[in-house]
Assembly symmetry: C2
DNA sequence: GGGTACATGTAACCGGTTACATGATTTA
DNA sequence: TAAATCATGTAACCGGTTACATGTACCC
């Protein structure tokens, strides 16, 4: 149950229309919780019905016309409650780890190329995050809000570094002949 | 599309019934791809229909009776192809990172306790993985299959270590007063 | 007025989750 | 024979994905 909270957060940062939210989910927030425009429109409908947000008044028909939303007091309260709520971390669910496990049974053909490909993708993502860090979090800025957002970004950065190191390790093990430890 | 492949892997390691698979998913394979018994039964049906596995012959009615499955040649081929296939890594989707981001907007009330709780959970998980590593991967064992499985486990271990470090960092930032860098 | 970009929306499907139903086997 | 446990299964729901439909605004 996180998409509605992601949207509330985004709308609090800046009231927006569905499409604007979609674009913003393609950057910033979407780095940690992606969503398509269909999901977003559906969720905006639910949030409005629940009284958490409202569409800014605009005359005439709605279809094809921009519709801006803002967060109501009840929405802010809901988000505040969620921040302090108790939600267990989800167990790992990773297809690549699973594929290595399968490779232990049926052989590693084609796996090395795929690991190299993933390595390149993670290196690219890391570079992107580091660029954002340089742009958005220069050492002199230091409000409480910025620090929290920076911690989130550091999470993304260190996760990419984890994958890069792990992939390098996996590739080394793949290439190593048996019993040469 | 990973659950069928997880099941094929498990069945190749050892032919099993649905409930046995469920129990094994609660350990080993389930550490990286969890599944409930309902998912597993549904998927076993699909895999059988697709000709990837077959139920070992047994007389009489099926309901309430154990039903063992084994992997057919087509199933092994499917799994082999999947190991070498091209599948992009999924973008991060983590509710806790999102909650920190929300906290930057609505405040951090209740967050510190939640971070400490997650820290304890990850430390517990790490201890469990390290225990498995000690039991299953003593230095003297060194077949190619074991090495691959060990790499997978190392991934789990290092992921837990990542979370532990990140949570410690986040807690430190939460506690630090503004502009004291 | 035709094309393109902007903007909102519907429908069908798919995998994962939760709750419940039913039959077989073991044991007190 | 009743209860507990093993074992397979159905049904409803929910969030995420993919494909498609519809309407507006602007520019050539």
């Amino acid at each position: 149950m996180s998409l509605p909270h992601a949207i509330l957060t985004a709308l609090l940062e800046k009231p927006s229309s569905g499409l604007e939210l979609t674009h913003r989910f393609d950057r910033s927030i979407g780095y940690f919780w992606s969503a398509t425009h269909q999901q977003i429109y559906r969720e905006l409908g639910k949030l409005e019905e629940a009284g958490f947000i409202r569409a800014l008044p605009s005359p005439g028909p709605t279809r094809g016309r921009k519709k801006e939303y803002e967060v109501l007091a009840a929405g802010r309260a809901e988000l505040t409650a969620w921040v302090g709520s108790s939600e267990d971390p989800k167990p790992i669910r990773d297809a690549l780890l699973l594929r290595l496990r399968a490779a232990a049974v049926v052989g590693t053909e084609g796996l090395e190329a795929e690991l190299r490909r993933h390595l390149a993708l993670h290196e690219g993502q890391l570079a992107e995050y580091e660029e954002i860090e340089k742009r958005h979090f220069p050492p002199e800025r230091d409000t409480a809000e910025d620090r929290l957002r920076h911690v989130v970004l550091r999470g993304g950065i260190d996760l990419e570094r984890f994958w890069i190191e792990w992939l390098a390790h996996a590739l080394a093990e793949l290439g190593r002949p048996p019993n040469s430890r």
